[in-house]
Subunit: 355 residues, 2 copies
């Protein structure tokens, strides 16, 4: 580090994204990405006139994009905040509401970035342990007065909380914020977005990186009360008013309008997931009940770290966490049917070798 | 505001971008944008396979883009930080080095966002008045021990400091940072980028929004010592690791490599600027010596606020600052020759009416 670095960051440990090795071509099942193209409407939206017109600044209020999201989620554009990926949206939540003074809480096993944000913005974070079955300990969040941030479904477990449990947390204390990170919600869970009218302390965050096949376009959004969204926009205008490019706005607007394509892609992933789970179970794997585009698996004989390495040697990347409580598990993204057939083929040969 | 807003922001005044009215079609000369398309290489780079592959995350280290910039500016990729517009790059400078503890200084008349950043990140900011001729008071920056942020050329004056004066400021105290915001440098000023080896306390910030005709793509970068860049990347990875989309990376890499197109566009703007200045001077205007893609003009008879309104009525948007010291001036972006001919035509008719 340089001698100019803010001393508050001396001990900071930035988030480490999934590896992107370039030594060979891998089947990439380590970052919960999609191998499917985005909606054809995206390609159409990124037209020659749009690209040639990029000498102009885009609309910093992103109104067309916010209107399109609002229509799909049955809210008003004033209840929608849009960002450069849901990571930026979450970052703006921290900056706007928590930075330097607040107390928050989240599970011990969840998206690793929550702790990083807390460190970056000087927020006092407490973790509540997941129960032994990896479900969220709802009572802990009901009892505390801290602001809450929960991934629902959770990662890397893939498990989800029913909306009724989140309502219990919301009702327990209306003076603290509850941020629900719904990155994976489209793969079989119910969104809390319809609750923002009822609970002014709720912020629902979603992404275009999963079910809308647009990780590389960096698009995310929050739905909340219009007062909360106004605050987040005020901070955006005090940090980076033009946070979404003309290209991102066009891609996002086209993608969110194509609800039929979203449904088709989700249906395909769920079908592939169920088939993969069924086959792996028949091979002796224990698998948590996934509501996402990934599965979290362990095997009684095959150590997860070895499984990760053997898959990698065979050209398949997955994500292994060498951490307490979850080092027996491997997280595998659900790819195309062909990619998962290859995973199953390689897995069978690995199991034969260890048998 | 909501009752959840961080109390430190209760008095925050976000940056106000140039107006974007939609009541009619305007000649937009109010945001120092470009009416010229970006390099044709940008269109080529945003290919169908790239767009269809956006299910994948892009490289968060942005290495290809940083390599391309490094090559053009004769530095190493480790000396280059890239961001979602130079506003985000400046925001990361504040977050990484100044946030919550530092003292900085900048001119009373300059890019309005510096004060906004200072407010957002709790930084103690002092302004030093420009001299009566609007030149920067170099001695004030030599004397102070505060970190320095200077736009060079400055906005909205368009005036520039010679590199030798910036070296005096850099040498005066090597324990403080000097951030030089070179948004407009390509239109006739010398960059400080070659000095980063000599001065480890220098950060040079540039943008793709002006000379590269890509305001809508949100691309900016910083050049500094590799230690400083490492710090900025650490904070980026603790806030939003994937800050540039696959589309932005492709557009930026293609644009920066096309140095011939940049030179051609700059030459055209400078030529149009000189012709415009000459004609306006012949109409009695006083104009500061512009080294940018805009001019800052006043007239002995035509009040600047009136001039702004009359141009607007005639379909031409410019930027008027109703602020101390500069309310006699109007800032006019240099557009295409045709756009400037229209400005001159309308100006003549306005002058006839007031004569």
């Amino acid at each position: 580090m340089s001698r100019f670095l803010n001393s508050r960051y001396a001990e900071l440990h930035p988030y480490v994204p999934g590896e992107q090795p370039k030594d060979r071509t891998y089947i990439k099942l380590n970052a919960n990405e999609s191998s499917v193209p985005p909606s054809p409407a995206v390609l159409e939206a990124l037209s020659v006139p749009l690209i040639n017109g990029m000498g102009r600044y885009e609309d910093p209020h992103c109104m067309d994009f916010r209107k399109a999201i609002a229509e799909v989620y049955h809210v008003t554009p004033e209840q929608v905040f849009v960002g450069n990926g849901s990571d930026e949206v979450l970052g703006f939540c921290f900056l706007t509401f928590f930075s330097g003074r607040s107390k928050i809480c989240f599970p011990d096993i969840t998206y690793g970035f929550y702790q990083v944000y807390a460190d970056t913005f000087g927020v006092d974070a407490q973790v509540f342990a997941l129960k032994p079955d990896f479900s969220i300990d709802v009572d802990a969040y009901v009892r505390t007065d801290r602001h809450v941030i929960l991934a629902n479904p959770n990662a890397p477990t893939g498990l989800c909380l029913p909306v009724s449990d989140i309502e219990r947390i919301l009702r327990a204390n209306r003076d603290r914020l509850v941020v629900i990170d719904e990155a994976y919600v489209d793969y079989g869970n119910k969104s809390c977005a319809p609750l923002v009218e009822k609970y002014p302390n709720l912020i629902v965050v979603q992404t275009f990186s999963k079910s809308r096949n647009l990780a590389g376009a960096r698009l995310g959004f929050a739905i909340a009360s219009k007062e909360i969204i106004k605050d987040m926009n005020a901070i955006k205008f005090a940090f980076n008013p033009f946070n979404l490019s003309e290209m991102a706005l066009a891609a996002g607007t086209a993608a969110v309008k194509d609800t039929a394509y979203l449904e088709k892609c989700v249906k395909q992933i769920v079908k592939t997931r169920e088939y993969t789970v069924q086959t792996l179970r028949s091979l002796g794997f224990y698998i948590l009940e996934s509501h996402t585009n990934f599965i979290f698996v362990k095997h009684p004989v095959l150590f997860a770290g070895d499984y990760y390495r053997r898959l990698r040697e065979n050209g398949i990347l997955t994500r292994y966490y060498d951490e307490d409580r979850i080092r027996d598990y491997l997280r595998i993204t659900i790819g195309t049917p062909e990619e998962m057939d290859e995973v199953l083929r390689v897995t069978k040969s690995i199991l034969c070798a260890v048998a």
